[in-house]
């Protein structure tokens, strides 16, 4: 039955996905910012840290988003910051998801002592506030890039994913079709990859979306404290500079409003997409 209805089922899923307003709105916002991150740096008239002229200039035709107290073009910083944010989301979120999957699958499938150990590890990393560890590491790293930052963020973001994947694997591994695979001497890794993982695909997509948004927020927090990448401008760093150099008191709102809007819009859109996808995948949640 599965094989016969498969193509039709896919269409049905696509139908519900495209009909879902939340999903459409979320995807549209994300797409908009992705395009802006790609095209923006080419449209910008100045380099992010180039002296553009007037200082504290409000938004105008020449300076789209105005200029900072140093005379830097805000739009140019904004556009390159967007790119950095997506990079962190993709890499940090990806690594977080990957580690979480690995730990969750192995713990849930193998059970016993390995599960006991991995579960304990998960609980420990879960309790330690990730940002504090990231902060301590970053303080001692004098030169930091987006790549390193993303890796560290991913390394401390996986525990809740591992927990959720473990629970799901636990319930799947006792199903008949998994037993069948085991009886036919399939290797454990192959069982996980071909029997268990496909049944969780929709769930894994949701997990990745949440990890993506989480990584962006963590990076913004870290950058705001002044411990972000030292070689590129990021959205968190823009806010940090704005606060340090008195944009609030000077009333230079165009300096700190755009980066915040971008982060909020991207992460919010990711959450909304997540719920939309959940509704598309889960018939119980569809609103008729």
């Amino acid at each position: 039955m599965q094989t016969v209805t498969k193509p039709k089922k896919k269409n049905e899923l696509l139908f519900f996905a495209l009909r879902n307003t939340k999903l459409r709105i979320g995807l549209a916002i994300i797409l908009f910012f992705v395009v802006l991150a790609i095209v923006g740096p080419h449209l910008a008239k100045y380099k992010p840290n180039e002296f553009a002229g007037a200082q504290n200039h409000p938004p105008s035709a020449e300076y789209w988003f105005g200029t900072t107290s140093f005379g830097d073009d805000v739009f140019s910083q904004f556009a390159s910051g967007l790119g950095a944010a997506f990079e962190v989301g993709l890499l940090g979120g990806g690594i977080g998801t990957l580690i979480g999957l690995l730990v969750g699958f192995v713990a849930g499938y193998r059970g016993g002592l390995i599960d006991e150990f991995l579960n304990m590890l998960t609980n420990i990393v879960l309790v330690i506030p990730a940002l504090m560890v990231l902060l301590i590491i970053a303080v001692y790293l004098k030169a930091r890039g987006v790549f390193i930052e993303s890796i560290f963020i991913g390394c401390f973001a996986w525990p809740w994913t591992a927990r959720a994947v473990r629970a799901q694997t636990f319930s799947l591994r006792t199903r008949d079709f998994v037993d069948m695979a085991r009886i036919s001497a399939m290797r454990p890794l192959k069982i996980i990859a071909t029997e268990i993982a496909p049944n969780m695909m929709s769930y894994l997509l949701l997990v990745f979306i949440l990890q993506f948004g989480g990584a962006i927020l963590t990076a913004a927090t870290l950058d705001f404290i002044g411990l972000g990448p030292t070689n590129v401008i990021s959205l968190g760093l823009m806010m940090n500079n704005a606060v340090i150099y008195g944009a609030l008191i000077l009333g230079v709102w165009w300096w700190f409003v755009p980066p915040g809007i971008a982060i909020t819009a991207i992460v919010g859109a990711l959450y909304v997409t997540n719920v939309g996808l959940d509704e598309a995948f889960n018939p119980k949640l569809r609103e008729m």
């Binding site: 304990m120 609980n123 420990i124 879960l126 309790v127 330690i128 506030p129 990730a130 940002l131 504090m132 560890v133 902060l135 301590i136 590491i137 303080v139 001692y140 790293l141 004098k142 809740w160 948004g213 927020l217 963590t218 913004a220 927090t221 705001f224 404290i225 002044g226 411990l227 968190g236 806010m239 704005a242 606060v243 609030l248 008191i249 009333g251 709102w253 700190f256 409003v257 980066p259 915040g260 982060i263 909020t264 819009a265 991207i266 992460v267 919010g268 990711l270 959450y271 909304v272 719920v275 119980k284 949640l285």
Partner: protein
């Protein structure tokens, strides 16, 4: 039940042990020697630099074997000795942190509790009501996606600078000294509003949305349909749904603690609120590694205590843990 708490406590002890080890390990094995950096910045002649270097190595106990340094670190911690701050020089780190902790409690405890209760009740109320779902829910998504510091910056700018309603810097007026007078308490309260509000709003959005989604799951489950089919009033069904949906939210609070701590940290930085977050910023800017280590340990201890408190609450609100633990082991 004893086994349940025993397990939890074991994990917390291991976590504490690991956290202290990380705290000790990272400064020692990261590239760059802080003592060397300090001397390089002082611009001394080669001769005196050498002398001062050996003095500092001895003062910080960096010239003895590694395992002994590690042991000394633990002994010092149990004596409440976190070293001496460089930022506020002869002050011991422990005293600086002790002075900051009350502000953290003042800010965080109400923000967490009020947002949790308000968010859960509001989320439950909004679920499956078309009008609220479509108007207020999007706001919830926006709030929960907002970076804490950005909301703080916006509030400080809008309510502190554009419209002069609330002060936006410090925990009380800079002209005042802490005392038990009405004037001081009023100043404390007024300065507390904006940081509290920015923490509260972001968390509120998260709890409201979480609750709304959980309630919908519960209302679609078999027991709800069955109750409705029996003719149970909708209000009662929703109450049962709420009781079941609130349990994951209690666990969620434990899971969120790390994010909340991070949020409080940057909020304090935005408002120059003299809690631990503000100390951490000063420690970073003044390269005060002892203060940074001390703050890290204090936050870990705080988070562990909060986790334990949540575990106790969970046992109290979920009768299944009390019964289930005996059978399950």
């Amino acid at each position: 039940m004893r086994q349940y708490f025993g397990r939890k406590l074991l994990i917390y002890f291991i976590t504490f042990f690991l956290a202290v080890s990380i705290d000790w390990l990272i400064p020692r094995f990261m590239p760059g020697n802080p003592v060397q950096g300090m001397i390089a910045r002082a611009n001394l002649s080669a001769e005196s630099a050498k002398m001062i270097y050996s003095y500092y190595m001895q003062a910080f106990g960096l010239n003895i074997p590694i395992w002994q340094q590690y042991l000394n670190f633990w002994i010092a911690i149990f004596h409440g000795d976190f070293g001496t701050s460089i930022w506020l020089f002869p002050e011991p780190v422990i005293k600086i942190i002790k002075d900051a902790v009350p502000y953290d409690i003042l800010l965080l405890l109400p923000a967490i509790l009020v947002s949790w209760f308000a968010g859960n009740h509001f989320g439950a109320f909004a679920a499956r009501s078309k009008w609220l779902d479509n108007t207020i829910l999007p706001i919830g998504y926006i709030l929960t996606a907002t970076p804490y510091m950005w909301l703080g910056i916006l509030l400080a700018w809008a309510l502190g600078i554009v419209v002069h309603i609330f002060p936006f810097s410090g925990a009380y007026a800079y002209s005042m000294m802490p005392s038990f007078t009405w004037g001081f308490i009023w100043s404390l309260a007024v300065h507390w509003v904006l940081p509290f509000l920015s923490l509260f709003l972001v968390m509120f959005g998260g709890w409201a949305i979480g609750m709304r989604n959980l309630i919908i799951y519960e209302l679609e489950s078999d027991y709800s349909h069955y109750l409705l089919a029996l003719g149970t009033p909708r209000k009662l069904v929703r109450k049962y749904a709420f009781n079941n949906a609130v349990l994951p939210q209690v666990t969620g609070l434990a899971l969120q603690l790390g994010v909340i701590v991070a949020g409080a940290l940057v909020t304090e930085i935005v408002f120059s609120y003299p809690g631990i977050g503000y100390l951490i910023l000063q420690a970073i800017q003044n390269e005060d590694y002892f203060l940074l280590q001390g703050c890290f340990l204090f936050i870990i201890i705080g988070v562990l205590l909060a986790n334990f408190a949540i575990d106790v609450v969970y046992v109290l609100v979920d009768p299944r843990t009390r019964i289930g633990m005996q059978g399950e082991g």
